[in-house]
Subunit: 198 residues, 2 copies
């Protein structure tokens, strides 16, 4: 499938058939998500993977009871990590495996400098934007791997945090339900090129 | 090129060779960007296309003089549209071409209800997150179409707004420089799967 077919074929699946995606395909999807870009490669995200029916049932009522939650194979909760400094610290250790310790320190010190006066609110908003890059890899990756997906913002982040017992800095930002579609895609409706590009 | 090759092959190109991307390829990329998903399909974005040397030279100093700005073929300025209500009004007209006027009104009234108490700041942050979905289509789309790209946040949005004479609601959020690479990709450095998925 070429990239245009993936982009055009992907759609927000409103109902899945409940079948489980084979684990090797799920692992391939995770690899595609991991390789998403982020500013300075800070990767300020964590992704909670939910594939048990009990947790899905708890999450459904705080997700407007949308059928994707309970009919999908896996629900991926894309969380932004607002603790950007910790992400940078972890990145430094990772970079030091591929370059000198000093160079890794220099590069990450530059990042620390850029964020040193940032509020937690700014860090969260920034991390959330990055998270949407990874989310798009998930949506396109699902299609490329032969299954379907639905991006969702209609849920209570606060309730998700409680149910999933997330630390304060790991903020549920968007969902990506994946599975096999049990609905039919509608034609894409988009603004004209001339209304978007200028 | 399969999707994994696109994801793995894309990288933040730090220098381009100055060649122009043929217009038909640029048009194909725009189509891929247009078809990005967004919450409720509101598409709260505008993309300023810069391919003249004079404007690039004006933007370079307010982009930390990064060489991508002046060596790329086209610089795409991804702007979030904080005037979400206007986007919804335009969407209603677009939807009414594909369904009854009443159904389009009902659906967009639901969206209006969801945003009616939202501050401009909230709308902007929300629109910016959506914009990163379109940005990822641009980055992957460039690779799929045979050229290169660089996502960039290192620029002054305020100065861009002045130089490009943008209305207040059209907020420069990220850049995507596209062209043909004149550098060499480095190996991808990413956190382990177990550090991201949980």
């Amino acid at each position: 499938m070429d990239f245009k077919q993936i982009v055009m074929g992907r759609y927000a699946t409103k109902k899945f058939d409940g079948r489980k995606i084979p684990q090797d395909k799920v692992d391939e999807l995770f690899e595609l998500i991991l390789c998403a870009p982020s500013s300075w490669n800070i990767q300020p995200w964590k992704i909670k993977v939910i594939n048990d029916e009990e947790t899905k049932k708890k999450l459904a009522p705080v997700s407007w009871d949308q059928p994707q939650i309970t009919t999908c194979s896996h629900l991926l909760v894309f969380c932004a990590d607002s603790d950007v400094m910790s992400c940078i610290n972890r990145l430094e250790k990772l970079m030091a495996k591929n370059m000198s310790v000093q160079k890794a320190k220099e590069m990450t010190d530059m990042m620390r400098g850029a964020f040193k006066n940032s509020t937690e609110e700014y860090c969260l908003a920034w991390a959330q934007r990055q998270t949407y890059l990874a989310l798009e890899n998930a949506l396109l990756g699902a299609k490329a791997l032969g299954f379907d997906s639905c991006p969702m913002e209609g849920f209570s982040g606060e309730e998700y945090s409680k149910i999933l017992k997330l630390p304060k800095n790991i903020v549920p930002t968007a969902l990506c339900a994946i599975g096999f579609a049990a609905d039919t895609p509608q034609p894409k409706v988009r603004f004209d090129k001339k209304d978007i590009f200028f």
